[in-house]
């Protein structure tokens, strides 16, 4: 029995009880998760939830105040060299040299990873092809569009064929076309067996890419599981969004009394209802809101999704 191989297949990244404090403020508290080979694991949470801090600890950029990290069986610490060979980091900020060409950027970071000679030459060409920059390989990256830079940013992270690819919000500020291209690249890498740690505050990205998702808020994992497992946490309830004007307050009060309505959140321009069996309750809800003096302009039934899960767990919207 070869334990090493088993460890690699079973677990590429293991984080246990991570804690990070800045002064008296705890920004990451008791975070634990594991990622297996070929799995894409998402950290989903709003800005400031602690995702980048977790990534920074995993990548050895900052030390954890408590807890442990193992990457491909190697203990990760700020001084650990061996653990660093097993992952590629794609930081949230662009991390490329604008005065170097795309090819020079790839070759430099490839050499830092210990690559060289023919291996580096072939792999550089391969990655340039993968990220769609083969025809612009000799151009200085300062002439690139934002999307091209983002693709190169990712290309550098996966150049040395890491066991684990860490992507920190890779699609922030990217045009839809480039964003789709990036998501497709991640999907391809996952099918090739690479483990991916992916942070995002875009629910759609997490739903599309991730096998398992941890919902992060205020530095803690609020829930973890597959998409369906997380949705189950909401108790199978639907969300009904009512938009309109008039007496919203009276409508809210009236709807609270309706059987099947679990929660009513009233805003200035509408009401969000959490209900059991949304389609079945739609007609009485519309009727009661109208009777209470609210002039409806739009009604939408939202089936449970990660946004709903987040709302259910934290009481606030993902993009708050």
């Amino acid at each position: 029995m070869t334990t090493g191989l088993q460890i690699q297949r079973a677990e590429v990244l293991g984080a246990e009880g991570l804690v990070k404090k800045y002064g008296n403020r705890t920004v990451v508290e008791d975070v634990s998760f594991q990622i297996r080979s070929g799995e894409t694991y998402g950290l989903l949470g709003p800005n400031g939830a602690g995702k980048t801090t977790i990534i920074s600890m995993v990548a050895g950029l900052i030390p954890a105040d408590a807890g442990s990290i193992r990457i491909a069986g190697e203990v990760m610490a700020p001084s650990s060299i061996r653990a660093r060979r097993h992952f590629g980091l794609v930081p949230q900020e662009l991390a490329i040299y604008p005065d170097l060409t795309a090819k020079e950027n790839l070759r430099f970071f490839g050499k830092l990873q210990g690559m060289g000679g023919q291996e580096l030459k072939l792999r550089t060409a391969e990655v340039l092809e993968l990220i769609g920059l083969a025809d612009r390989a000799g151009e200085q990256t300062k002439k690139f569009s934002g999307g091209m830079k983002r693709r190169l940013n990712i290309g550098i992270g996966l150049l040395h064929r890491p066991t684990l690819l860490i992507l920190d919000e890779p699609t922030v500020g990217v045009d839809p076309q480039s964003r789709n291209s990036i998501l497709e690249s991640v999907e391809v890498l996952a099918t090739e067996g690479m483990a991916v740690l992916y942070t995002t505050h875009y629910m759609e990205e997490a739903e599309r890419l991730c096998n398992r998702i941890a919902i992060i808020d205020v530095g803690r994992i609020q829930a973890e599981g597959t998409r369906n497992e997380l949705v189950e946490l909401t108790g199978g309830v639907d969300r009904i969004d009512l938009r309109g004007s008039g007496d919203v307050a009276s409508a809210s009060a009236a709807l609270r009394l309706l059987p099947g309505v679990q929660k009513v959140d009233a805003g200035s321009s509408g009401i969000i209802l959490t209900v059991h069996n949304g389609p079945g309750l739609l007609a009485p809800i519309v009727e009661r809101a109208g009777s209470a003096g609210m002039a409806l302009t739009a009604v939408e039934i939202v089936r449970p999704d990660l946004e709903s899960v987040f709302l259910h767990l934290t009481g606030k919207a993902l993009r708050d």
Partner: protein, 390 residues
């Protein structure tokens, strides 16, 4: 080690491609050297060449001292002097009309009066276009008259002591015309001195070195701002090797720029700094000191912009205090403090080297510069790293 040299090579490539290192480390200091040389003296040489001068003179004195005065002017080694003799009443007009540099009227009893210890007046007329040559001639006459007056003092003292008149005359003549018992001769200071041009070349090289090394260590801040530092820190290289790579880049750029500035400066301005081996040691030492200093700056500032400002202030303060533009004269504690300035030590070392000094002779400046490097490197470990919190 491979990672270290990969980072060094990449940084050097970036600096060369950026080109600002050439502008700030070579072009600007060379231009400044040229401007300062033009401002502080003639371009080609340190010495001033005096032009031929004309003296219009009348000496009614048939004695020894009057002749001695005019003969001294006629045979001045520093410039060619022509003496034209005219009647006493014409000296003033002739001096002005002919454009002569100086007119002199010696009274008829000049020698007699001097040797007898009596007051005597010598009339000097300066030419209309008072030139440097006129000033030199006046100074020479002034000096001669002072020497002659010493004869008067001697004669007066002898008379009061009751010496016979014959003896008094001999004493006065001997004192007035003899060579002084004490003399001043120009020599070389023990520490060696650079010429004006040499000081400017060495000073500018030392001053701009402080800016040049900043391209290395302060590159850490640029990496942080550009986002690439996180990528470097996540690569399988030690934190120490990242910092060491930056230091090496600063050091290499500093050594190269200083060597080029001294070399090109020597050729352009005709100065020599002595033994290349000694100069090389001094350059290596001052580059080490300057590089260490930038570590402190890199830890104290949060942005590359702050770093540039701090580096400029430090560079100017150390450069000026070190004598990059003009020598600074201080004494006491301040002088001791100034001596610890690596730029001052560098210039002093080059002075010693230019004066023919060897490695042993520049030991003190070398120790100062290397000591500064060690202390600055240590201090940089102790000051808080404000940038990493940014």
């Amino acid at each position: 080690m491979r990672g270290l040299w990969t980072m060094v090579a990449n940084d050097l490539r970036l600096r060369i491609r950026d080109k600002s290192v050439f502008i700030f480390s070579l072009i600007v200091p060379l231009a400044l050297m040229g401007v300062l040389n033009l401002s502080f003296g003639s371009f080609g040489t340190d010495s001033v060449e005096l032009k031929p001068a004309v003296v219009v003179a009348n000496s009614g004195d048939g004695g020894q001292l009057g002749s001695a005065l005019l003969e001294t002017l006629d045979t001045l080694p520093v410039m060619e002097v022509t003496i034209r003799t005219v009647p006493a009443g014409d000296v003033s007009r002739e001096t002005k009309d002919s454009g002569a540099d100086l007119g002199i009227v010696l009274p008829a009893d000049f020698t007699t009066a001097v040797t007898a210890g009596r007051p005597v007046a010598v009339q000097l007329v300066q030419g209309d276009a008072a030139r440097m040559e006129t000033n030199v001639l006046v100074s020479v006459v002034d000096g001669l008259l002072e020497q002659f007056s010493a004869g008067t003092v001697t004669a007066t003292a002898g008379e009061r002591a009751g010496l016979p008149h014959q003896v008094l005359g001999d004493l006065a003549r001997q004192t007035a015309s003899g060579t002084p018992a004490l003399s001043l001769s120009e020599g070389q200071a023990a520490s060696g001195q650079l010429s004006l041009k040499g000081s400017l070349v060495a000073g500018q090289a030392g001053l701009f070195l402080l800016f040049t090394v900043g391209f290395g260590v302060l590159g850490l801040l640029a990496e942080r701002e550009g986002g690439t530092l996180a990528r470097l820190q996540s690569a399988p290289v030690t934190r120490g090797s990242i910092v060491t790579a930056k230091a090496l880049v600063g050091f290499i750029l500093g050594v190269a720029a200083t060597a080029v500035l001294l070399g090109v400066g020597s050729l352009l301005f005709g100065v020599s700094f002595g033994s290349p081996a000694v100069v090389a040691l001094l350059v290596l030492a001052v580059a080490a000191a300057a590089t260490s200093l930038t570590f402190i700056v890199a830890r104290l500032v949060r942005t590359a912009e702050q770093a540039n400002i701090a580096q400029s202030i430090l560079g100017m303060v150390l450069g000026i205090a070190g004598g990059a533009f003009f020598p600074i004269q201080t004494s006491g504690f301040l002088a001791g403090l100034m001596d610890l300035n690596p730029v001052a030590a560098f210039i002093r070392g080059l002075g010693i080297s230019a004066g023919g000094g060897g490695v042993a002779d520049v030991a003190v400046p070398l120790v100062i510069m290397l000591g500064f490097a060690a202390v600055a490197a240590l201090a940089s470990r102790l000051v808080p790293d404000r940038g990493s919190r940014g």
